[in-house]
C-alpha cells in the first residue's frame, strides 16, 4: 500500500500525526498543571491547614449481632459489652525512641494488686504488628476489667496511640446448654478468609463458628456502618462529618427465634450426665422442628469470648480431650441403628405382604438360629412369635428369618422412605454426616480394600440393625415420621428471623424431604408394636413409659466392639394417637437400651408433658 510514489506524502502525513499526538499530550498535561496550580497555590492555605490540624479518620461501626431465642422467647444467646485496650498505629509517634518509651510505660503499668497489665511478649508482638496494620486498632488487652480500663484512662495523656475500645461480645447465659447447637464466635481465621464464602469478611471480624452461629452468620452479623470523623492532633474525635455523607449507620443483625424449647432442653441436659458420651434429639415430627438436642460431653462457648490467654487454655482443654467434646454427636456421630432398625424390617415386610400380624415363622427362638455353617445367637429364648411380639421382645431369630425372606432391597427402600440412608437430612447446622445402608453393591465397593465380599448371610445382621450407619438425628426423624405416617419433614432449628423492631423477616417453611408414608394396615401394626414395647409389662422399653400418655418406642443395644458394653439406644414417640414429639437417645457403651437409654427418654417426655410438677406434688 505504501508504494514509492506516495512515500514522501506518507512521510509528511506521519510527521504531522506525530505532532498532533504530541500537541494532545501537551494539552492534557497543561490541564493537569492548571488543576495542580489551583490545589497547590490558590487553595494552598486551606489544604495546608487541613493537613496540619484536622485529620480525617474512617471508623467502622460494628453492627450488633442478632440474639438467639428459644421457641417461647427466652434468650439463649445475647451480647455483652467488652472493653479492649488497643494500639492505634496512626496516633503513635513514628520515631522508634518515642515508641520504645510508650512500650516501657505500658510494661510498668500495674493494677491495684500490683500485677502487670501486659506481658512483654504479647506487647512486643503488638508493637511489631502496628507497622503493618495501620488503619485498624491492634488489641493489646482483650476483655479488660473496669479497673484495668480506669488505670489506662488515668495515664492516657502519657500514652498517645493507646485507646480503650468498646466492643460487644457473645454471651451464653446458660453456659454449656445446647452448646453444640448454638456454636460460638471467634475472630475469623486466615484459612477462612481465603474461602469464597467469606469474601465479604475482613481480618479481625468476629464470625460464627459451628452451630447456628456459623450457619446463620450472615443473618446475625448485620451490616457494619462507617463514619468519617475529624480528629485533632492528639487523636481525639472532634466531629463527625455527617453533612457531607460521612455517616452510614450500622444495620443490626437479625434475631432468631429457634425451635429449641428451653425447658425441654434443660431436662434433656440434666438427664445425660457430662461424664457419659452420648446424644439426644427431640423433634416435632409434624413439622421437623427440633425441640432439644444434646451432645455429651459439652463445652462452654463462653470461653471463646474471653481474653486470649484464658481462651487458649480453654481451647486446649476441649481440643485435646479424648472424649472429643467438640463433636456434635447428635448429627456427626454415626452408629449402628441396632434393634430400632427392626421396625424397618417389619415395615418392609408388612408393606410387601411377606409378613403379617398373624404370620409365624417355622423356626421358634431357642436362643439362636442356624444359617448354613453359622450359628447366630439371639439375646434370649423367646419361643414362637408374630411380628408384634417379636418387636416387643426384640427377638433376633424372628428377624433373621424375616430379613432373609424380605431381602435387602425392600428393607433399604423402606428405610430410605423414612429418612435413613446416605442422603443428608439437611439440618440447618453444619457438620451433619451421612448414614449408610449397605446392599451387595455398596458393601463390596466399601470393603474392596479389605477383600470382603457380600454374602447372603450378612442379611442376618443387617435385618437386626447391625452393620448400617445412622445418626441419632436420623433415628428421631425416623421414629417420628413412622408414627405420623404423613411424610418426613426436614429437621431444623430456625423458626423465624426478626429484625431489631421485632418484625418477622423470614419464617421457616416446613418441607417434606422423603415420602414417609405407608399402608394404613402397616401403620396400625407398627403403632401397636411400638405401644407394646413400652406399655406391655414384658416390653423391653417399659422404663420409657409416662403415666397418662400413650408412648411408643423401640429399644436398641448396638454392638460395636467385642468385649465392650453395647451402645444403649432408645427411640420413642408420643402420644401415639397424635404424635407431638419424637425422641432418640444414645449412650455410647452404656449397656442395654431398655435399662440405660429408656429412663432418659422418660425424663424428657415427663418434662414435655408437664408431668414433672405433678410427680413432685
Amino acid at each position: 500500500m505504501y508504494n514509492d510514489t506516495s512515500e514522501n506524502e506518507a512521510r509528511v502525513r506521519r510527521n504531522w500525526n506525530v505532532l498532533i499526538f504530541l500537541a494532545g499530550t501537551v494539552i492534557v498535561f497543561t490541564v493537569i498543571l492548571f488543576k495542580l496550580f489551583s490545589l497547590q497555590y490558590l487553595h494552598y492555605e486551606e489544604n495546608f491547614q487541613r493537613s496540619e490540624n484536622n485529620r480525617l479518620r474512617r471508623i467502622e461501626l460494628i453492627a450488633d449481632r442478632g440474639y438467639i431465642y428459644d421457641r417461647n422467647g427466652k434468650v439463649l444467646v445475647r451480647n455483652r459489652p467488652s472493653y479492649q485496650i488497643a494500639l492505634q498505629a496512626l496516633e503513635m509517634p513514628r520515631k522508634k525512641a518515642a515508641r520504645d518509651s510508650i512500650f516501657k510505660k505500658l510494661l510498668n503499668i500495674r493494677d491495684a494488686a500490683g500485677v502487670r497489665l501486659f506481658d512483654s511478649l504479647s506487647l512486643d508482638t503488638a508493637f511489631q504488628r502496628i507497622r503493618w496494620v495501620r488503619t485498624r486498632p491492634v488489641r493489646i488487652l482483650e476483655d479488660a476489667t473496669m479497673e484495668q480500663v480506669a488505670v489506662i484512662e488515668e495515664h492516657s495523656t502519657e500514652l498517645p496511640g493507646v485507646s480503650v475500645i468498646i466492643e460487644s461480645r457473645r454471651e451464653y447465659p446458660y453456659g454449656t446448654l445446647a452448646s453444640h447447637v448454638l456454636g460460638y464466635t471467634s475472630e475469623i481465621s486466615e484459612e477462612q478468609l481465603k474461602l469464597p464464602e467469606y469474601e465479604s469478611y475482613s481480618q479481625g471480624d468476629r464470625v460464627g463458628q459451628k452451630g447456628l452461629e456459623q450457619e446463620y452468620d450472615k443473618e446475625f452479623r448485620g451490616k457494619n456502618g462507617l463514619k468519617l470523623v475529624e480528629v485533632n492532633a492528639s487523636g481525639r474525635e472532634v466531629r463527625t462529618l455527617t453533612d457531607v455523607g460521612g455517616f452510614i449507620a450500622p444495620e443490626p443483625g437479625l434475631h432468631m427465634v429457634s425451635t429449641i424449647d428451653l425447658k425441654l432442653q434443660k431436662a434433656a441436659e440434666a438427664a445425660i450426665p457430662d461424664s457419659a458420651k452420648g446424644a439426644l434429639v427431640a423433634i416435632d415430627p409434624r413439622n421437623g422442628e427440633i425441640l432439644a438436642m444434646v451432645s455429651s460431653p459439652r463445652l462452654d462457648p463462653n470461653i471463646f469470648s474471653l481474653k486470649r490467654r484464658e481462651r487458649n487454655k480453654g481451647w486446649a482443654h476441649v481440643a485435646l480431650d479424648s472424649m472429643r467434646p467438640l463433636t456434635n454427636r447428635a448429627i456427626s456421630g454415626v452408629y449402628p441403628p441396632a434393634s430400632i432398625f427392626k421396625l424397618v424390617t417389619s415395615g418392609a415386610g408388612l408393606e410387601s405382604g411377606i409378613i403379617s400380624e398373624t404370620k409365624y415363622y417355622p423356626k421358634a427362638c431357642t436362643g439362636g438360629y442356624q444359617y448354613g455353617a453359622r450359628y447366630q445367637r439371639c439375646w434370649g429364648v423367646h419361643g414362637n412369635l408374630n411380628v408384634v411380639h417379636a418387636l416387643r421382645l426384640s427377638c433376633d431369630v424372628y428377624f433373621y428369618q424375616a430379613g432373609l425372606e424380605i431381602d435387602m432391597a425392600r428393607i433399604n427402600e423402606f428405610a430410605r422412605r423414612f429418612g435413613y440412608g446416605e442422603q443428608l437430612l439437611g439440618v440447618d447446622i453444619p457438620g451433619e454426616r451421612a448414614g449408610w445402608l449397605p446392599d451387595s453393591a455398596s458393601f463390596n465397593r466399601r470393603n474392596k480394600r479389605l477383600g470382603w465380599r457380600w454374602a447372603r448371610g450378612l442379611i442376618l445382621n443387617l435385618s437386626i440393625g447391625q452393620g448400617q450407619m445412622v445418626t441419632p438425628l436420623q433415628q428421631a426423624v425416623f421414629i417420628g415420621s413412622l408414627a405420623t405416617n404423613k411424610g418426613v419433614y426436614r429437621p431444623h432449628f430456625m423458626k423465624e428471623l426478626q429484625d431489631a423492631e421485632g418484625n418477622v423477616v423470614r419464617r421457616y417453611e416446613p418441607e417434606i424431604i422423603r415420602p414417609g408414608t405407608m399402608k394404613p394396615e402397616t401403620h396400625r401394626v407398627l403403632l401397636n408394636a411400638m405401644d407394646s414395647v413400652v406399655n406391655h409389662p414384658g416390653g423391653t422399653g417399659k422404663k420409657g413409659a409416662v403415666p397418662g400418655i400413650r408412648v411408643g418406642g423401640k429399644t436398641g443395644s448396638g454392638e460395636w466392639k467385642k468385649g465392650q458394653k453395647t451402645h444403649a439406644w432408645f427411640a420413642a414417640v408420643a402420644p401415639l394417637e397424635d404424635p407431638q414429639i419424637a425422641v432418640a437417645v444414645i449412650v455410647e457403651a452404656g449397656g442395654g437400651g431398655g435399662s440405660v437409654a429408656a429412663p432418659i427418654v422418660h425424663k424428657v417426655l415427663m418434662a414435655f408433658f408437664g408431668k414433672e410438677e405433678e410427680e413432685q406434688q
Partner: protein, 415 residues
Amino acid sequence: MSTDRIQDKSLKFDWFFIAVTLTLMTFGVFLVYSATVGEELAVYDTHWFRQIIYFLTGIAIAVGLVFVKIDWLKRAAVPSYVIALVLLLFVLIFAGDVKGAGRWIDLKVIKLQPSEFAKIAYLITISYWLSKHPVSLHKLKTFLVPLGLFIVPFLLVLKQPDLSTALVFTAVTLVGFFFAGLTFTDLFLIVSPVLSVLFSHSQSMVLQVLWGVLICLVVFSVLRRHLSKKLSGVIIATNILAGYASSMVWNMLEPHQQKRVNTFLDPMSDPLGDGYQVLQSLTAIGSGGIGGKGFGNGSQTNLSFLPEEHTDFIFSVLGEQFGFVGCAAVLVLFTLFLWRASSICKTNDDPFVTLVTMGACTIFLFHITVNIAMTIGLMPVTGLPLPFLSYGGSFALVCMFLVGLLMCLRYQGNK
C-alpha cells in the same frame, strides 16, 4: 532505501532519551523510599530496594531487546498474540479459586499477570497487521481483521474485570488507526457515540446542550468526510440512539446502581469509599504548595493513611513533598520522554516502526494521564499505576520492556 535516513552512528542510541528514563526511575525509587519509610525491615525486603531490583532487571531486558532484529519482532507477532490469549483464557477459567486471583497466574516463584503481557503482544500484533493493511472509513472491510484482533483480548480483560486495562487496549487501537490511515475527524466519529452516552446520561442542562453541539459536529464531520450514505446514516443514528438509550437505561437502573455509577464517575460523592482516598490525596498534594514540604517530610502527616500511597497514589507523595515545582518537573520529564520516543518514527519509513512506537507512547501517555488525573480528582479511581514512579514489579518490567522495544527500533533501524 531513502536518502534522508539518519546515518549518524551516534544516533543509534538516543542518549537523551535514556537519560530522561533513568532520571524518572531514580525519582521513582526516592518516592517509593519516602512513601514507605519507617518500615524497619531488612534492606533486601524494603520496597525501595525491591524497586531497584525490578528496575535493574528491566534495564537488563531492555539492553537485551536492543539486539533483536525488527524482522524477528514481526515474526513473533502472531505467536505472542496467541500465547497472550491462551494465558488470558487460563486466568479467566481458573479465576475465583482463590480470592482476588482473577488476574494472576501464580507460578510460586513469580506471579504472572497475563494482561500486562497481552498489552505488549497486542501492540506488536496490531501494528504488524496495520502496517500491511491501512484502514479507511470508505472501505469498511479494512476494519474487520483489526477489530477482530482487538475485541477478543478486550473482552477477556474486561471480564476479569479490569476496565482500565481494557481501555489501554482501546487507546492503542485508536492511535493505531490514526497512524494507519484514519484522520482526526474519523477518530472523532468513531468515539462520538461514547461521548453521546456520557453527555446525555445526566439531567444537567449544560451537558444536554453540549450533546446538541456534539450531534451538530457529528453531522458536519460526516458531510465533510464524504462518507457513504449508509455509513453516515448509521453514525448519526447511533449517536442519537446512544443519547436517548443512555438516559432511558439510566432511568431504568435501581437507585443503588445509579449511585455506584455516580461514585465511579465522581468519587467525591462518596467520601466514605473511593472519595476518602481522593480527599486525602487532594489534601496531601495541596498542602505541598509551590515548593513542597521537603523530601521525607510528607508521609508522617497525611499520607500514612493512604493505603496505596507507594503504588497508585505515588503522585500524591510527589505533590506533598516536592510541591508544584516537583510535579511540573515530572510532567516536563514525561513530555520529553514522549517527544524523544515519538521521534523514532522519523528514523525509519517502515510503517511497522511508526505504529509500534506510537502505540508504546500511547500506553505510556494513557497510564500517566489516568493515574495523575485520578490523584487530583479529575478522573475515576482506577488501578492504573504511574510509569517509572509507582512501586510494582510487573508494571516496572512492562515499562522497561517497552523502553527496550523503542531503543531496539531506533538501533536496528539505523544499522
